[in-house]
């Protein structure tokens, strides 16, 4: 119930005027649990709010601003370390939103730094980062092999003094997943920002967000990822050319179904304007229920559904036999 209230006031801040004190209490807690407190603070800025709500949202906004400064600094550190490679460095997700000054970055919390480099330069990028003070965060032989053989990114690296993580991707989905996005096309279409790092083209950025949400994980933090998609669509939608390119690029990356799913659910939860034909599917109700699986205390609810999506995330990531082998090694270490 309260998650829907959160979605409603993110979508239409004027509805915040009608919230009861109990609804506010739940909404603030859920916003923190979904890592949307900074985004909510940004959306409601300028409105007259109960003093405590104002105070909590001010703190969330300050927190997001400090996080933004850290993220930009970390990006600059990586840029300097990787500059000698002379290859494109495409920054992804939250760091890209703030680097490019996109609406999706306003108030957004940013965790790790995610970058994409050409697969042929992966070894060089790793060597350059290790030389500049990053270290492997998971020094376990199986994990290391697993990442290098099956994943779309290097094993995570962490900087030894700044304690910040970097994920170096060479594509946007695990190699074991069924869709095979065209990584070269992602890089060749990327947009160079002033100062030499790049971001994905508008269509690819939305496709990546949709792939991350619906073709990879178990939808944890999905409300925030879907909010990213809503903000990106609203910012990039300049008419038919945008929707055509979104459809074409989604087809190129074999990600139409993830993108369509993202658009439908964003429309349901955030009233996102969708000006292309997306056919509804009965499974959307399950996804919607999974995205809204939290109560007013911030606790996870709908455990069976969560578990089903957890299984799904593994099946998406790898074929069943490989999955069994992976889980066996994880459980018994052999």
């Amino acid at each position: 119930m309260s998650e829907r209230v959160l979605c409603a006031i993110l979508t239409d801040p004027s509805r915040a005027a009608h919230l009861t004190t109990d609804q506010w209490t739940s909404v603030l807690t859920i916003a923190h649990a979904e890592r949307l407190a900074g985004s909510l603070a940004h959306r409601l800025s300028g409105l007259v709010l109960p003093l405590t709500v104002q105070s909590v949202l001010d703190a969330a906004r300050l927190n997001a601003e400090a996080g933004r400064a850290h993220a930009l600094w970390e990006l600059e550190m990586a840029r300097r370390a990787l500059a000698p490679l002379g290859c494109p460095i495409v920054v992804l997700k939250g760091s890209a939103f703030v680097a490019a000054g996109l609406a999706a970055g306003q108030g957004r919390l940013i965790g790790d730094l995610d970058i994409l480099v050409p697969r042929s330069r992966l070894d060089d990028a790793e060597a350059a980062l290790l030389a500049a003070g990053w270290e492997w965060a998971k020094p376990n032989a199986y994990d290391d092999m697993y990442y290098r053989r099956w994943m779309h990114e290097l094993p995570p690296l962490i900087h030894k003094t700044r304690d910040r993580m970097i994920d170096v991707h060479h594509t946007i989905l695990p190699l074991t997943a069924r869709p095979r996005p065209d990584a070269e096309a992602l890089i060749s279409n990327a947009v160079v920002l002033e100062g030499s790092v790049s971001i994905l083209s508008p269509a690819d950025m939305i496709i990546h967000a949709a792939a991350h949400l619906f073709a990879d994980g178990e939808l944890d933090g999905g409300l925030r990822n879907l909010w990213d998609i809503d903000r990106l669509v609203r910012e990039f939608d300049q008419g038919n050319a945008f929707w055509d390119s979104l459809n074409q690029r989604a087809a190129l990356h074999h990600l139409n179904s993830a993108v369509d799913r993202a658009l439908r659910l964003a429309q349901v939860l955030y009233d996102t304007p969708v000006r292309t034909r997306v056919r509804r599917k009965w499974t959307d109700a399950l996804f919607r229920a999974r995205l809204l699986a939290r109560n007013g205390w911030g606790q996870n609810t709908r455990r069976p559904l969560r578990f089903a999506f957890y299984i799904r995330s593994h099946l998406l990531r790898m074929p069943p036999l490989l999955l069994i082998r992976h889980l066996w090694i994880k459980a018994f270490g052999k």
């Binding site: 004190t21 603030l28 807690t29 649990a33 003093l51 405590t52 001010d58 703190a59 205390w297 911030g298």
Partner: protein
């Protein structure tokens, strides 16, 4: 959640939910004379949860959670749930507070001026503050001093004082049983018993005051007083602050003002009586 309570400590409102009734009853006893959160909306939500559903009943163990959490918080036995709640409330402040510079310190006020006592666990800052609170001073808090960046004022945060081990008997000798919580034995920090602040502290919890003296107490050493240079005070307070880095420039400005406008002493004292005498003596020299 099945059981819940709310309270306001100084400027901060809390909501605490629990899978069990006993922790809420314990908290409601400790916080019986506190106000409820302003507007009916708490700043922070805290949860005391069973690690698994069946762990509500069998070897019940309390996992803390809330708006702001650390990934590796260890569960505590249900008998220590009130302590778990206190840790969870501290965590909300340490990780989520952005309106005050937070110093891990106790603080007391007299004549509109505040002494901040800071030091590591075992330095005696809680005990000294508890004793001063019964000896004509107003207790502002034993855990966090809240420095408001815009004004430099110290705001009260007078939670029940968490007395540990030997200091429990020291305070039991001074204060009636009605102001104590139950004794919690065998915690990671030994025995703990909470002391409810007196009426002066609770009535005054909305009144901030100007810091005038910073003390670095050390219990158990021969009596000694040492001036502490502002540079050293600054560094020690950055270490005592849970949100100095997160506050960025306002934190730096607030701390610089506090350090340059407040004198500081390191005091060593062999027992609580000489500790109290030292504090009173330094206070008199200040005036």
């Amino acid at each position: 959640m099945m059981f819940a309570t709310t309270m306001r400590v100084g400027p901060i409102g809390f909501r605490i939910g629990s899978d069990w009734s006993a922790p809420i009853a314990g908290l409601e006893a400790l916080y019986r004379d506190y106000q409820k959160p302003d507007d009916g909306i708490p700043h922070f939500t805290v949860r005391l949860e069973a690690t698994r559903f069946w762990r509500r009943f069998i070897r019940p163990s309390v996992q803390i959670a809330g708006d702001h959490t650390l990934p590796e918080a260890l569960p505590l036995p249900l008998a220590q749930a009130v302590l778990a709640a206190e840790m969870a409330m501290n965590l909300q402040m340490a990780l989520g507070q952005r309106h005050f510079l937070l110093l891990h310190a106790s603080s007391v006020e007299r004549d509109g001026k505040v002494i901040i006592l800071t030091g590591e666990s075992g330095s005696g800052k809680s005990t000294l503050a508890a004793l001063l609170g019964e000896a004509g001073w107003r207790l502002l808090g034993d855990e966090f001093a809240l420095i408001e960046p815009a004004t430099g004022l110290a705001w009260p945060f007078p939670r029940p004082i968490s007395l540990k081990n030997d200091s429990i008997a020291v305070m039991e000798a001074q204060v009636g049983a009605e102001r104590f919580g139950i004794r919690i034995c065998g915690t990671p920090k030994g025995d703990i018993r909470h002391l409810i602040p007196n009426v002066t502290a609770l009535k005054g919890m909305d009144t901030p005051a100007q810091p005038a003296l910073i003390l670095f107490p050390r219990f158990g050493a021969p009596r000694a007083v040492r001036d502490v240079q502002p540079s050293e005070v600054f560094i020690r307070l950055t270490q005592a602050s849970t949100n100095y880095v997160a506050l960025a420039e306002p934190g730096y400005t607030a701390l610089t003002r506090l350090v340059t406008q407040t004198s500081a002493r390191a005091i060593d004292y062999p027992d609580t009586a000489s500790g109290l005498a030292l504090v009173e003596q330094l206070w008199a020299e200040l005036a």
